[in-house]
């Protein structure tokens, strides 16, 4: 099960406009602990192409539909991006990447 599917099963509002087909970046998540980020398989070109377009991209960003649950990821925490390219929340300025 991907993190996107898990989010939907648990009523977490994570958008998945292209339904997991690597044609959008709306399920963008940030892996809060770099150790967990490093456990994940590297993104394929197609995922990187979509991450290019994601808002609030960070060094540990992934697409939720590409992060598949496994026992070694137990305890992983994913944050949803707070800032967007179009506007900032309370004066926060998104880091350039």
């Amino acid at each position: 099960m991907s993190m996107l599917e898990a989010a939907h099963e648990n009523d977490v509002e994570l958008e998945g406009a292209c339904e997991g087909s690597l044609a959008c970046s709306t399920c963008h998540v940030i892996v809060t602990d770099v150790n967990y980020y490093n456990k994940l398989e590297d993104p394929v070109d197609e995922e990187n192409d979509m991450l290019d377009l994601a808002f609030g991209l960070t060094e540990t960003s992934r697409l939720g539909c590409q992060v598949i649950a496994s026992p070694e990821l137990d305890g992983i925490r994913l944050a949803l991006p707070a800032a967007t390219r179009n506007f900032a929340v309370d004066g926060h300025v998104a880091k350039s990447h």
Binding site: A17, C18, C24, D49, D52, R85
Partner: protein, 499 residues
Amino acid sequence: MARDLRLLPRAVGRLRSLLALGATRGFSAAAAAEPLHVCVVGSGPAGFYTADRLLKGHEGAQVDIIDRLPTPFGLVRSGVAPDHPETKIVVNQFSRVAANGRCSFFGNVTLGRDISLSELRETYHAVVLAYGAESDRSLGIPGEDLKGIHSAREFVWWYNGHPDMCNLSPDLKNTESAVVLGQGNVALDVARILLRCKSELATTDITEYALDALHDSRIRKVYLVGRRGPVQAACTAKELREILGLKNVRVCIKEADLVTSPADEEEMRNSRIQRRVYELLSKAASAPKDINCNDQKELHFVFFRRPIRFIPSENGSTVGAVELEKTTLKGDEVTGRQLAVGTGEFEDLKCGLVLKSIGYRSLPVQGLAFDKNRGVVPNLRGKVLSSESETATVETGLYVVGWLKRGPTGIVATNLHCAEETVASILEDDTKGVLRAPSDLKKHGRAGLVEILEQKNVRFVPFSGWEKIDSKEKTAGQLRNKPREKITTWDGLQRAANE
């Protein structure tokens, strides 16, 4: 007036985080006792994401989406390329929004002709303009109205079966060379459709007449011409990778064009997208060329050239060549951007078809301020302003979203965040009581709209009408091993909707 405007951003800032959270997390605004009647003009991604967020953010929201076409979904249906079906999956979500009991779709209703903006504002608490950009930036150079020159938008609408362009009949037989001006994703789309194997296109939802025309096409060389260099190319990695990998197409890029300046290096350091595009172009330029393919077509990336005029062919009425001026990049002190400046050296590029892909342009609407330079309706976080000047006031109950708000850039998903901002503005105004002044007459929403349309004898198409069109298209598609065979005339669409 100016002071009111300065206070607004701060008030917006304070309420924005709460309401943005509320809008996306299903919190209903305090003034929810009575229905909030909203009309969204335009049923593309901007319109549907707006409707979706409104329904989720306000328990009493009743949303009507109108569109001048009988079919919904805007550019998802008429813009996304036929060989990009995964980008169209988003219509599943939009259909779920339309099926919501508090949402109704009204197709075949044109703002200005069938209902005026003031009638809408009298009928709804809030009107959201989401009608995008249905025109083009113009080059303004001599020869622009020669035959054989089209905007990319017209060409895309043609192969995608938009009823306004089904009779475009571009001539693909009179020439071997097509020039595409621009290097954004739309430019890549049209180049790719011209170059792709017909057998690959035959199983997409491309219109049959376009498939026939492409089958008979003599075009073997496509030139993608940009004013600036590979670092500044406006396309994105996914689309570029796809076109560079087309079967039987030899990619031609000059090594000399790939030389980068310190300013280029700086741009790439600051932009992941530009860095990855440059890397793809670099790799393609140095890749070994296979020379054996008979049927090989050519894709040329032409950099540092800007069009000066179109030269007629021997018959005098069709384009025969584009005169290009070599450019060099110069840093703009104010914006920091690198701009193309002419060098005084010219050359001609022979061609019989030109597709201008230099940007879409929104159309102004009667009674609405319009920023002609940016092609947008002046607004503050989606709230329409009375003018572009500093003393502009906010127009009560009038909002804008999507390309009409931001300009014609971005992808489908860009509208998601744009819609969230506009909806936050609407909900904030509703909470403050701005949308229901005691002096206002009661707003009748959907019932009011239907009354006006029936009085004017407008045969609107409900979502169920679109479902009839959809079903008919899918059935016809099955016969040809295509996901659908689009109905491409106004008449055909209206008949199918009313069966």
